[in-house]
């Protein structure tokens, strides 16, 4: 048997790529999703108690066609994504340096850790009323609440990452003539990257959960509001569309972070 020659495009082996896209895992996944939809349709048709109350896929689908053509639907995506990304990015900008500083300086850790540990267990949603009061615009209060969702996770993951660096790495680096900023840049930062991406993945999940709930309570736009509005209006198929849209949006966000993480920490996962 002869091996087919690899075909490259922009440094990517296309044959390998095709194999990984059209793999058995992919087919199994597709089959499972279709089976779930069929089961759901059957439950609705035969009016199975409780679960049969959910609008059937067929009615959701016809409503979806309408929604996809409605700019207001896409506006919901943009608004929610805007909030999630703003909150998430601010959490990175403040959380990453704070986590690193707390990990490296014992004094600062002693000073900030107790306060942080008292504030952390407060669910971000419990902040909604206060946030609405003290931020000048509702939009700012939404972003603040989303920010909280990712912030504590980032700080704690990075703090843990720095504290768990194997002391032998630091010692080897010292013996080899490294010190100060050099050790920070070449040892501490790369050693912390895996925990940073763990924090980002978890944080992104929390951010979506928070933004949807916050939109239901305190906003008149976004995917969360779309879902809530449809419930109030009795437009049941759109509730399902709102839910599935949130699911897809969350999945896409996590996928990007996973991809980024695999790219930036190539030493962890080698085939």
């Amino acid at each position: 048997m002869t091996q087919k020659k690899p075909v490259y495009f922009m440094g990517i082996n296309l044959r390998k790529l095709r194999k990984s896209i059209f793999s058995k895992t992919t087919y199994r996944g597709i089959v499972a999703v279709i089976a779930t939809v069929i089961l759901w349709e059957l439950c609705a048709r035969f009016e199975v108690p409780i679960i049969g109350m959910i609008p059937a896929p067929s009615s959701v689908f016809s409503s979806l066609v309408e929604q996809l053509q409605d700019p207001a639907y896409w506006e919901c995506w943009v608004v929610s994504y805007d909030r999630v990304l703003s909150g998430f990015i601010i959490a990175q900008i403040i959380g990453i340096p704070l986590g690193l500083i707390m990990g490296l300086s014992r004094h600062l850790r002693d000073l900030s850790f107790p306060t942080l540990e008292i504030l952390r267990p407060i669910p971000p949603l419990a902040w909604v009323p206060t946030a609405v009061i003290f931020w000048p615009t509702p939009e700012m209060s939404m972003i603040f609440v989303t920010f909280l969702g990712a912030f504590f996770t980032m700080v704690l993951n990075i703090l843990g990452g720095v504290k768990n660096i194997d002391v032998r790495y630091i010692r080897s680096a010292q013996s080899l003539g490294s010190s100060g900023f050099d050790i920070f840049r070449r040892i501490v930062l790369p050693a912390t990257l895996p925990s940073l991406f763990t924090g980002m993945t978890v944080g992104m999940g929390i951010t979506w959960a928070v933004v949807v709930a916050a939109e239901m309570i305190a906003s008149r736009s976004g995917l969360g509001f779309l879902t809530w509005k449809s419930y109030v209006a009795g437009d049941y198929p759109v509730i399902v569309i709102g839910m599935i849209s949130i699911g897809i949006a969350g999945y896409l966000s996590s996928a990007v972070i996973r991809l980024l993480g695999d790219r930036l920490t190539p030493w962890r996962k080698i085939i």
């Binding site: 194997d166 032998r168 790495y169 010692r171 080897s172 680096a173 010292q174 013996s175 080899l176 003539g177 490294s178 050099d182 070449r186 040892i187 790369p190 050693a191 990257l193 920490t265 190539p266 030493w267 962890r268 080698i270």
Partner: protein, 293 residues
């Protein structure tokens, strides 16, 4: 090509140093939790000799190496290299740790060139040339762009040896470097390591808890007492170099082994009467096999 150039690459011969450890003590904890780990320990690492430290596991060998490397300071006593007291960690005394301490986020080549590049002594190109020269010697030239996770246990140790050697240390310190390797790889690494030493004759300190390995490698065998550790006896091993494994069947070898075992057993009995159970169990397990042969 002389033996020195053979291993040292293109930067001139390696220079061994002499290390003097005098009346060193170290304890951890305070009050009733205080544990004396090393007490009044003195010995010398002679220039260009391979000194092996042997003692039961948990007797304080790793603490001792942390002191010699300068990662920790002794409570009392002095440590000097060529007469000058040591100040913190330095590239003149490099440690190869138990298990691998290669930086996981750097490739083989990046790991090896780390020291010279952070110190900025030479251009990147020069350093990489020298690194490749050394990597070729240990058969890792095809693995220059692999991460440590992609290397086998034996390859990781070889890479680590090269990472230390490229810095031209005066003293190499090996902290049970072959622990955790399978028997076959371990034997290969011992043979490889002893060749390397016989080529460069750097001052070497090798820590182990395996008597067979100790005698096979050593010029001088320092036997440690049980905790608190101090140097109890030094045996000069006058077996011929280059060392070969068939040496392990000679009468001279068995004579050294018998001599060392008697002392080690005495230490084990002392530990037994002082009642530290776990250490004794370790100790007897480690040596009963050797004795029964």
């Amino acid at each position: 090509m002389s033996a020195h150039e053979h291993i040292s690459g293109n930067g001139g011969p390696l220079q061994g140093g002499e290390m003097q450890i005098t009346a060193v003590s170290k304890s951890f904890g305070i009050g009733p939790l205080r544990q004396q780990v090393i007490e009044n320990c003195s010995f010398t690492l002679e220039r260009g000799k391979l000194t092996v430290l042997i003692g039961p596991s948990g007797c304080g060998k790793t603490t001792l190496i942390n002191l010699l490397a300068g990662y920790e300071a002794p409570d009392s006593g002095t440590i000097t290299v060529d007469g000058a007291p040591i100040k913190g960690p330095g590239k003149d005394r490099l440690v190869v740790f138990q298990e691998t301490a290669l930086f996981p986020w750097m490739t083989t080549l990046e790991n090896v060139t780390y020291g010279p590049i952070v110190r900025g002594e030479k251009s990147k190109k020069e350093v990489e040339e020298e690194a490749m020269h050394l990597l070729r010697k240990v058969g890792l030239e095809d693995f220059r762009d692999k991460f440590p996770i992609q290397l086998s246990g034996g390859m990781q140790r070889r890479c680590e040896l090269v990472r230390a050697l490229i810095n031209r240390p005066k003293i190499m310190m090996m902290d049970e470097p072959f622990r955790g390797l399978d028997a076959m790889t371990r034997e290969l690494m011992q043979e490889y390591y002893v060749r390397l030493f016989e080529e460069n004759h750097l001052t070497n300190l090798f820590i182990t808890s395996e008597l067979e390995e100790a005698i096979f490698l050593a010029d001088r065998l320092v036997i440690l007492t049980n905790r608190p550790a101090s140097a109890r006896t030094v045996i000069e091993i006058e077996l011929p170099r280059p060392r070969e494994f068939k040496l392990l069947a000679t009468r001279e070898y068995l004579h050294y082994k018998q001599q060392a075992l008697e002392i080690l057993h005495e230490e084990a009995l002392k530990a037994f009467s002082s009642g530290c159970g776990a250490t004794v169990a370790d100790f007897l397990e480690a040596y009963s096999e050797v004795e029964s042969k």
